[in-house]
Symmetry: D2
Subunit: 298 residues, 4 copies
Amino acid sequence: MESIGFIGLGHMGSPMVQNLLNKGYEVFVYDISQSAADHLVALGAKAVSTIQELAKQVAVVFTMLQTGQQVSEVYTSEQGIFKALPPGHLCIDCSSIDVVTSRALHAIAQQQDIAMLDAPVSGGVAGAKAATLTFMVGGELENFERAKALLSCMGQKIIYAGPAGNGQAAKICNNMILGISMIAVSEGFILAKKLGLDPKKFYEIADNASGQCWSLTHYCPMPGVLENVPASNNFTPGFTAAMMLKDLRLSQAAALESATTTPLGAQASVLYSLFVNEGHADDDFSGIITMLTSHNEL
Amino acid sequence: MESIGFIGLGHMGSPMVQNLLNKGYEVFVYDISQSAADHLVALGAKAVSTIQELAKQVAVVFTMLQTGQQVSEVYTSEQGIFKALPPGHLCIDCSSIDVVTSRALHAIAQQQDIAMLDAPVSGGVAGAKAATLTFMVGGELENFERAKALLSCMGQKIIYAGPAGNGQAAKICNNMILGISMIAVSEGFILAKKLGLDPKKFYEIADNASGQCWSLTHYCPMPGVLENVPASNNFTPGFTAAMMLKDLRLSQAAALESATTTPLGAQASVLYSLFVNEGHADDDFSGIITMLTSHNEL
Amino acid sequence: MESIGFIGLGHMGSPMVQNLLNKGYEVFVYDISQSAADHLVALGAKAVSTIQELAKQVAVVFTMLQTGQQVSEVYTSEQGIFKALPPGHLCIDCSSIDVVTSRALHAIAQQQDIAMLDAPVSGGVAGAKAATLTFMVGGELENFERAKALLSCMGQKIIYAGPAGNGQAAKICNNMILGISMIAVSEGFILAKKLGLDPKKFYEIADNASGQCWSLTHYCPMPGVLENVPASNNFTPGFTAAMMLKDLRLSQAAALESATTTPLGAQASVLYSLFVNEGHADDDFSGIITMLTSHNEL
Amino acid sequence: MESIGFIGLGHMGSPMVQNLLNKGYEVFVYDISQSAADHLVALGAKAVSTIQELAKQVAVVFTMLQTGQQVSEVYTSEQGIFKALPPGHLCIDCSSIDVVTSRALHAIAQQQDIAMLDAPVSGGVAGAKAATLTFMVGGELENFERAKALLSCMGQKIIYAGPAGNGQAAKICNNMILGISMIAVSEGFILAKKLGLDPKKFYEIADNASGQCWSLTHYCPMPGVLENVPASNNFTPGFTAAMMLKDLRLSQAAALESATTTPLGAQASVLYSLFVNEGHADDDFSGIITMLTSHNEL
């Protein structure tokens, strides 16, 4: 069994490490927050003092960070992974970052004969805990095959999206559709209600018609229609509005970079930005429905 | 078996009448185009000279017209249905019109003890021919029960949406979600392609992820991904861009009337309007994807 | 001097009546609120009990009401003006209402040989008090000439916009541009500030460049740039967000009615709707700038 | 008189050099297109073979290039300006590029004691020829003072916008307002016309009212309202749609970079993108009005 390094032990990284430990892997952990690391060491992980100390002891390095800049620094700085990791070893970046940065990292890794995958996830904190994440993976196919079993310890669907950066591309394109359709479904329910349609009746109709979408069927934003979704639990996340905004901004950065026209992606990004501006960063992203109506009308 | 009247014998009305004839119903037909009526008379329908002549001979009147104004006139003018139809008889308006006009007709019908249903359809010309339409029905429940068997001659799903006008409300809310999600899916595929993702690969990923929606799964706008959809057949409709624009404008009229905020519904209406302005009224509505990119890039 | 009737004595109507009284006119007043009428009677206006009592005693009737439905009722109901006003007399509707309703009223007036003008105003409560309103007037030119002196008692610019309804059309088209440009200027200042430009410096630059517009030059939404504008006075109106939203919705109703594509008009309408949803109906309309940023950043 | 270097001799750069020559300056020129350089040499400019040869002979270097990447390369590559220019000399980048790249260049220049200004222009090719450009200048005030006389040879308004990058910031914020207001004015005129208002009448009204803006007053997009504007000359530029799209994309890149919400800036960017997609890159940017209506209606 290969030994694993894991850098970035936040809401997502921490339960992912626990799943690796549960499967019997030896996991070396690092985070700028010492307490995040301590928590996992208490559960059986191994402590290291620096990123490079970690890189020298493992065959596979995972990163799960917030921004492209953080990821770049962790891999390419003087104190970073690439300066310490032997050729042939494998890096898997599970962070959601921009495609340009991701592809730049792949290129540098390749120059050093380091195997690299971008493997952003969907499924949220709940999926990380339950080991039911979806991984969308970009990089060389042989590296994907090598990583598959390992990723399966933390996720349910492990999807190969093609060459370097395609995991990031797949995720932001999918989540752009998701963000738009969540707003679309919200608008549909609000309008239906204003016109006198019972929300459960409209759910039944649209779920069986051409308006069907995942946002409606599995994550309906109208409170009281589905049980066990954030909308029926005061919009407790789930997947926060701030996270959706981050992904929408990544989609808009990619659209700008590639001169692509995304009218509703742009609009969805604006709407989530207004929602976050109003203080709802930590609400579930389906809470956007509350912005479409005066607060006492829902 | 009740005798049926059918007013409005266009692309939708004509095959609907044929399905009623096939089931053995006696159908009296009327259209301002004599040739449209003649065609059905040759197939066994009964000719009448005026709307009121029709109204006097049937127990159930269907209307399938283009605009709220036409529907109003056919029912409420001096030469209209309501002046000739006996109390207790049933009117079923299958046109897609605005909720306000529809509810006004219900109110007038009720004053004359005429049973009324609004029953707009989805499924397009293909669904009309194959008798696989979906009917979204508004009005009193007992009238719905009375109409159900009859509607089943022309459609597969007969859904009760609640009181007067709710059929129209359900249709425009569903189709507003449809129009938005068709654009969302188009943006997703265009961006994915620009970022280097194979369209079939992106289909596979999004179809199994949170971006899934009917527009993607069953009607994918990216040419070459699905067979037997308009996108793979030069955007031959199907459901035309002009029809989608009509439904989106109905949604925006309802939103204005009810002071509802529909940001993406408004934007989708603008985008289909620009698409129709550019000469694409008769293209399939999934053809909106061609507007998002220079024409030679798809 | 002709005697005047004035119906609708709210924030706008009341000071308008006072200006007519100041010029020496005899003014009969009516409002559903008795106290609004009493206030003006104390200042010299004449009381009436009903709209028709008023109509019988005056040569010119002004209306200044909230909605198209109210205006229709006041003019065309059984107890309305048209049933009591002698031919040849003049009606001037100063309300801001939809073009369709306005033109329908003109048509009915014409059938009864009543002279009619639509004459919506801009300038707000301050303009009404100072008699500096702008009137945009639609109707026959001879009626406009007849009304000009009278309107000049209440306003500074009296503009003839053409045939029936054109006053309403001019106002909503102008205010649609105003609403959009207010948001545009707000976005420009917010972005400039985020990029490190001093707001006063950016004002100086844009005011002398191609970004110049009335919203910037005379009504700058960035607090602290201009004195004596709502932005520098906690967004105390001025012209409320609710009034701007009303005009934008009228523009969108006119766009729908005439199948016109107004992408930014639609978007501005959505943004003011979100702003009003958040509880800012009574803020000045330039307060929309606060929605574009987290509240503590401005 | 200082000797000048000028790199980038396109539609803008070429007439700018001619104006410097006209004032008696010695100008060394460079362009990747030899013929562009030859043309100016025939008019009295001095030829050089490389950028660094140029840099070694002049006191002030101007650059007028297309993209941030080109500008970066010209200044910072091994064969670039910074490797050859002595300390104390002055660089003025007149290109319109993103703020981040511009500020990065300033920082590098400062490390080498090179004086740097960003000085993007407005006024287009016509302004470049007539020496009536507006320069928006960012950098240290003393450098601005040093450059002022020189810039005045090519422009009419030389505006100081503050520290490094603020020239770029001012330009994109101004042009974002311009792009939005051009669309707003277009929508206003189209709607006015559809509602039956004479365009010249609407111009007169809005120009004197709160809808007034530079796009309307000086550059009215409705054909036939103003003489000597592109709208009355088949939308011959002027300022092309492609250039407006470039500036709007720069504004959106800056907005993403600084997490700023620009709803109408995003929408304007989308609309110009659709317009360029349809083949109108080289039309004047006021031609966007033609996209808002079927082509035969204007």
